[in-house]
Symmetry: C2
C-alpha cells in the first residue's frame, strides 16, 4: 500500500483527460461536482514532458489544500499520456480497478508531490482479438451507482463507442465501435464530403431514416453510398444528409452489437450523443436511461472514497 | 438516329474516363487493344470547358482518320464531365445502353466535329434508395462476352465496388460498396493511420486473417478497431496491418453482399484488386473468373459494332 493511500483527504479532484479534451471537477462528499472546468487540452496537445506543468496551470489552485486527492481517468494513462497505467483485464470489478491505480511518484513527473493517481483502462479479449477502453470504465462504474444497475448493457457513444456487459457489478466484456471517427472520416474524407453540410442543424426525420436504412443486410459500405445517391437524385438536401449519414453510422453500430436481446440499456454520453442514441435506440424498440458527466465524477468519487477509506 | 450513326467507321477508339484516371485504346475488329494509353487526367483534374482540348491533346492523333468512332465510358458522362449522359435504369440490356449514347454535337463541346459518343451509366433502385454506376456497365457487358455468361453475379472491385446481377444478358440490379474509399479514409484519416504502413508489401496471411475476422457479426465499425488493438498489444506490425485492414474492409463487402448463394462469380478489376478479391472469395469458398481492362475494350467494341452496323 502506498504511503499516499494512508492519507485521509478531505478534498477530491476528479479529472477526465482524454485524447482531445480535458475536464476536471472539485467534488463534494457525495461525488457531485461543486465546480467544473473544461479545456481543449487533450493529451494529443501535450508533449510528454509537460503533463505536470499543464496540470499545474489548470488545476494547481484546486490541489493547494493539504491532502487533496486527484484521480485521473482517460488517455492520460496511455503510453502517450502522463504515466502508463496498464489495462485491467475483464472480467473485473470496482475493486480490481481501485487496486491497480498508477500513483504519480514525486519527481520529474510530479514535481510538487501532489497526491495524484491515474485509473487504469480495461481490456477485453474475444477470439484472439483484444479490445480496450480508457475512461469509459469509470463512467460505467459511476453509472452503475447512479442507475442502481448491477447487471445490464452499458452503452457509451463517442469517437470509439463502447458496449459493455455488466454482471453482478463487474464488467465481463465489452466491444468498441469506431462510430464517431468513421462518421467524421466519411463526411470529411470521402466523396460524401462534397454534398454534406456537416454544420447543419440536426434533422430528426433524416436521422431516423438513416437508422432504419442501416438495419438492412447490405452493411455500412453499401448504405453509406446512399448518402451520395440520394443527393445525386435530388432526394435529400445537404443539411438533412449530415443527419442521415449520422443515422446510418449509429444505426450500423446498433445493428451490429451482438450482446443479445435487451429491452433497456444505460446510456452514458454527451447531451448531443445521448439525444441521437436515445432516438436510434427508440427507433429500434429499446429504452434507455441516460447519464452524462456526472457518471464520470461519481465513478472517480467512489474510487477516491475507496482510496481514502 | 444521328447522322453519326450512319457513318461506317473502320477505326474504333475506346476511352474509359474515370474520376481519377483516363485510359484509352485503339481497337482491332475483335475489340482487342492494338495500343493503350493511360494518363492521370481523371475528370477531377479537368475544368468543364477543357474536356475537348484535353481529349485532343491526348487522343487527337488517333482521331485523325476519317470516320473514326470514339466511345467513352465512365465519369466523363456525369454532371461534372464532358457532357451528361443520363442513367439508364435497371433492368437493362446491351440494346438499351446502345440506344442511349450521348453524342457530342459539333461546336464548343466538340470543335473538330469528331464522332464521339458517351455511354450512359446505369441506375438501380431498392426500397426507395437509388444506386448508380458509370463505366462498370460497359465492363459487365464486355465480361459477359468474354466469359460467355448471360446469367450470374459480376463483381467490380474499386473505390466504389459494384455487385451486379445479370439475368439473360441483362443487368437486373446492382449494389455499390464504398470499399476502396473507406479503406483509404480509415487508413489515412483515423487513429489507424498512426500504426499502419500503407506502402508496405501485400501480406497474404494478414489479409486472409482480416477477411476471416470480418465475417464475425459485430460489423466493420467494431472490426476496424482491432487493427488498432492488435498493434497496441504488439501482435501485428505496421506492414501486415495494412493488409489486415484491407482484408477487413474487403471481407465486410463480401459478408454484406446480399445477392444470395453462388459458387462462382465474374470478377473485373485491376490486377492488384483482382488478386485480393480472388483470395478473399477463395477464403469464403467461392470461385471466380477474372478479367481486367480487356472487359472495358470488349464492351466498348461491342457498342461500337452496334453503332456502325
Amino acid at each position: 500500500m502506498s504511503q499516499h493511500e494512508n492519507h485521509h483527504a478531505t478534498s477530491v479532484i476528479a479529472v477526465d483527460w482524454g485524447t482531445s479534451s480535458l475536464r476536471g471537477a472539485r467534488l463534494d462528499a457525495q461525488g457531485r461536482a461543486l465546480e467544473e472546468r473544461a479545456f481543449a487540452r487533450g493529451i494529443m496537445t501535450v508533449p510528454p514532458s509537460e503533463f505536470a506543468s499543464v496540470f499545474e496551470a489548470l488545476f494547481g489552485d484546486w490541489m493547494s489544500t493539504e491532502g487533496t486527492l486527484c484521480l485521473i481517468s482517460g488517455m492520460a494513462g496511455s503510453r502517450q499520456g502522463w504515466v502508463e497505467a496498464p489495462y485491467c483485464a475483464c472480467p473485473a470489478g470496482f475493486d480490481e480497478l481501485a487496486g491497480q491505480l498508477a500513483w504519480l511518484p514525486q519527481g520529474a513527473l510530479n514535481p510538487k508531490g501532489h497526491r495524484i493517481a491515474i485509473v487504469p483502462g480495461m481490456s477485453s479479449e474475444e477470439a484472439g482479438v483484444p479490445d480496450v477502453m480508457r475512461g469509459e470504465e469509470v463512467q460505467i462504474f459511476g453509472a452503475m451507482q447512479l442507475s442502481g444497475w448491477q447487471n445490464g448493457l452499458f452503452v457509451l457513444p463517442g469517437t470509439h463507442s463502447k458496449w459493455a456487459v455488466v454482471q453482478d457489478g463487474r464488467i465481463t466484456s465489452f466491444k468498441s465501435f469506431m462510430t464517431g471517427e468513421v462518421f467524421a472520416a466519411l463526411s470529411q474524407h470521402t466523396i460524401l464530403a462534397k454534398t454534406i453540410a456537416t454544420d447543419a442543424p440536426f434533422d430528426e426525420a433524416a436521422f431516423a431514416r438513416g437508422v432504419a436504412n442501416a438495419q438492412g443486410p447490405a452493411g455500412l459500405l453499401h448504405h453509406a453510398f446512399s448518402a451520395r445517391t440520394l443527393s445525386l437524385f435530388g432526394r435529400m438536401q445537404a443539411g438533412p444528409l449530415a443527419s442521415y449519414l449520422s443515422g446510418l453510422v449509429i444505426g450500423e453500430e446498433l445493428r451490429a452489437q451482438t450482446i443479445g436481446p435487451v429491452a433497456e440499456v444505460v446510456l452514458v454520453g454527451s447531451p448531443g450523443l445521448n439525444q441521437r442514441y436515445s432516438l436510434a435506440l427508440h427507433e429500434l424498440g429499446l429504452r434507455c436511461q441516460t447519464f452524462g458527466s456526472e457518471a464520470t465524477w461519481r465513478g472517480l468519487a467512489a474510487l477516491a472514497a475507496k482510496v481514502n477509506a
